[in-house]
Amino acid sequence: MSKATFSVWRGDKSGGKLVDYTTEVSEGMVVLDAVHQIQAESANDMAVRWNCKAGKCGSCSAEINGMPKLMCMTRLNTLDLSKPVTIEPMRAFPSIRDLVTDVSWNFRVKKTIKKFKPRKPDAPDGTWRVQNEDIERPQEMRKCIECFLCQDVCHVLRDHQKHEEFIGPRFLVYTAALEMNPIDDDDRVDDLKFKHNIGFCNITKCCTKVCPEHITITDNAIIPLKERVVDRHYDPLKKLLKVFGPK
């Protein structure tokens, strides 16, 4: 057994600071284990969200040594334990306490996206016939565990604070899943352009890099959606009309 030190951000919306805790570490431990151990030993009231401890629920998002990660899936042997490991809450969201942030904005955004609307069933018993090849993409998008790490790193939200205008990568993924679902019949392309401002995304791919579900957010969700928007709103005929039409 050896010991390691963790600098955990303690505080709330009025401010806070990193506090050092030293605790025993053993083989196979993940960051969340260390946090729990500290909580039980010396900081009973340290706030942290978690549920599954297996990378399935997306509750335990944090910034570990500055990198957005799931605490339950970050093994200590992937970190340099010779110096303190910093554990901070997601910075793109307001603080509630310690490692817990207010992510309620995400839940409000989702409501603004048109819900799933099925097309007419294929069979008399009210069911659909769909091939596996046709659902690969929507299934990839539906792996999302709503950890909001992609929202945390997207500079449009993190640095430019465009929360009121831009829905962020998570909800572009969500919209892509709906648009690519072979049973869905609704159309969200106009909303993407005018209401959800997909144009703010300049394809930096930071979101894709942090996604713990390895969803290729930019290539498989955002770019295809952007193409749909372009096809509709900037097709050659319309462009011509724009050039020659009245200003």
């Binding site: 196979g28 009973n44 549920n51 069911t127």
Partner: protein
């Protein structure tokens, strides 16, 4: 007197897993106002972790399947202690509930002809589990969540319900607090649906999350409702055993459904040595036949690795105790071996992507090349709030229960995949009947003395302060106690000792204190959970002591056989007696109608 805020709804649903969401959707579509309360954020409930699939006799893969076969499988799995009416409704309605999920946006894996694909699972005679890879629970909770948010349901996320309020016999609401600020809240309601899940956190090794502290079981008990079958806890045979910090995390049965086999340290497939007589006609007696079964050969019988969970868990336990286990006290689960059989084995195995990543990331192990080490983990409680099979109402008027917190459907042992379908079928029924009850009965009174008493109990740990005992210590001691003394193999003297320990822990729970304030304070939350955990632990232990036979999830070393004439004829019911002490009574099974008996006989062949 403590300050609190009041909210009013026709129906409140406590819990936002599959059962709670489905209940809330149903109640709100019946036109009543619904409040949905949950301890975590929306979409994070335990249901999200379910992997293998949901059982429904849709007969998409094998047209011999029907609700009658599903019914018979469920009853046999539950060793005939099940509430047969629930088992009947469940088998009949599950297919519609699954199809409805698709109509709400779920994207299931498909058969070649484009229908919803179904996979094999332990105890199910035919391929029956509709699934999405090994993340079926995520698909289910997300679909219900995304449908539900457009239904006008008021959601109270990160709120804990701490007590039910009553007006005479009936419920009239609930009291709780929001976890973020610690504000106390009173919910007035005409009907209440409990959908709080299970109690795995009473044990040390478990696949369950922190939420599983038996809150609903305990809320119902305190409100005077009956609990049934509490001795039946399911130990899943395959949890991770190494490294220590992931001990207990589930390895889906889907691994075995896709061809994974269990071996001891000598490389022997020990499951072939111990096939119970009543399963012999349907179980393969050689590896070759077992393999063909997993590959969809309809003439083949299933491999013994897919026998019911209680049996497989005990066989693993036996291998380990006999010194034939793996280095870290489990046995080997090997799916990599299928490369001997098929050329594209790694792709086939990656049909279980979460399992692949789970082992890769948490154990540095590649399951496409190396066997996993697995051992039993506390997984599910069959026992729960006793409900009426048709309406899901408990013995307290206006109080309903659905999902894992309800008892009856699974009897002495639950089949894999029967929980997700349970959530949908009975979530819907509970929502429907709660709305009906609310419309027919109006509101009851909220009595201030009950509110004050609940608030006082909730805030007491702050008064005792940081120098009092830590709630975490009491929790750990309880977990050790249950794991060691009321676990997978049980004995009278050990369980009596466990009950003594529980008495002591109850006293200590009354003395724990916490530091800090009410805002997002996990120490406080843990202090509150203790009472629920202890109530459930006591109920489990008492019922287990009283059942002097072995059946399903309940195995007694001192009574290793089933006693059909005696214990096979009644359920154990636990309730709070007039003296405030826990009472246990035997309630005879209700006779099964002939057509259901016939369905069972038919399948015994």
């Amino acid at each position: 007197m403590a300050e609190f805020q009041t909210h009013e709804h026709d129906v409140i649903v406590i819990g936002a897993g599959g059962a709670g969401l489905r209940a809330a959707i149903e109640a709100s579509s019946a036109g009543v106002s619904v409040g949905l309360i949950c301890k975590s954020l929306l979409g994070k409930a335990h249901t999200v972790m379910a992997e293998g699939g949901m059982a429904a006799a849709m007969a998409n893969v094998d047209d011999r399947d029907s609700w009658k076969v599903h019914f018979a499988d469920t009853m046999r799995g539950g060793q005939y202690l099940n509430n047969w009416r629930m088992a009947e409704l469940h088998a009949q309605q599950a297919p519609d509930r699954v199809r409805e999920l698709e109509a709400w946006g779920a994207v299931f894996d498909r058969t070649k002809d484009g229908k919803i694909l179904q996979r094999n699972f332990g105890g199910h005679r035919y391929p029956r589990l509709a699934h999405v890879g090994d993340r079926t629970g995520l698909e289910m909770i997300r679909t219900l969540q995304d449908h539900g948010i457009h239904q006008g349901i008021t959601v109270y996320m990160e709120h804990t319900v701490a007590g039910l309020l009553k007006d005479g016999n009936r419920v009239s609401g609930a009291i709780g607090y929001d976890r973020e600020k610690g504000v106390l809240r009173v919910f007035r309601a005409k009907a209440v649906v409990l959908a709080t899940g299970g109690v795995g956190r009473a044990f040390k090794i478990t696949s369950n999350s922190w939420e599983y502290t038996g809150d609903g079981h305990s809320l119902a008990y305190e409100a005077g409702a009956d609990l049934v079958d509490m001795e039946f806890v399911q130990f899943h045979p395959t949890g991770m055993v190494w490294p220590p910090s992931v001990r207990g995390i589930l390895v889906t049965e889907g691994v075995r459904g896709e061809g994974g086999v269990l071996r001891n340290k000598d490389g022997k497939r020990f499951m072939f040595d111990d096939i119970p007589d009543n399963y012999k006609p349907q179980t393969a007696d050689n590896p070759e036949e077992g393999w063909r079964y997993t590959q969809g050969d309809k003439s083949a019988r299933r491999p013994p690795e897919l026998l019911t969970r209680d049996h497989v868990a005990r066989c693993i336990n036996r291998e380990v105790k006999a010194g034939r286990g793996s280095p870290h006290g489990g046995v080997f689960l090997d799916i990599a071996w299928i490369k001997e059989k098929i050329s594209n084995a790694p792709e086939h195995i990656k049909k279980l992507p979460s399992m692949y990543h789970q082992f890769k990331q948490l154990a540095d192990l590649d399951i496409t090349t190396t066997p996993m080490e697995v051992g039993p983990t506390t997984h599910y409680i069959m026992g729960g709030v006793k409900v009426d099979g048709e309406t899901q109402m408990s013995t307290v008027p206006g109080l309903f229960a659905a999902g894992e917190v309800a008892g009856g459907l699974h009897g002495a042992n639950r089949l894999g995949g029967n929980s997700l379908s349970d959530l949908l079928v009975f979530g819907k029924l509970a929502g429907e009947h709660a709305a009906k009850y609310a419309k027919a009965n109006g509101a009851g009174q909220v009595h201030q003395d009950q509110v004050d008493a609940a608030a006082k109990a909730l805030l007491a740990p702050f008064e005792r302060g940081a120098n009092a005992e830590s709630p975490y210590k009491v929790q750990y001691d309880l977990q050790d106690n249950m794991q060691a003394l009321v676990g997978i193999v049980r004995k009278e003297d050990e369980m009596l000792k466990a009950l003594d320990v529980i008495e002591g822990l109850k006293k200590r729970a009354g003395t724990v204190g916490v530091a800090g304030n009410r805002e997002y304070n996990p120490g406080w939350h843990t202090a509150f959970d203790l009472g629920n955990l202890l109530t459930c632990a006591e109920a489990i232990a008492r019922a287990a002591v009283a059942r002097k036979e072995s059946r399903g999830g309940h195995f007694r070393e001192d009574f290793p056989n089933k006693d059909e004439k005696g214990f096979g004829t009644f359920n154990h019911v636990i309730r709070k007696g007039p003296d405030g002490k826990m009472q246990l009574v035997q309630v005879p099974l209700t006779p099964m109608p002939q057509h259901l008996k016939d369905a069972i006989e038919q399948e015994k062949k």
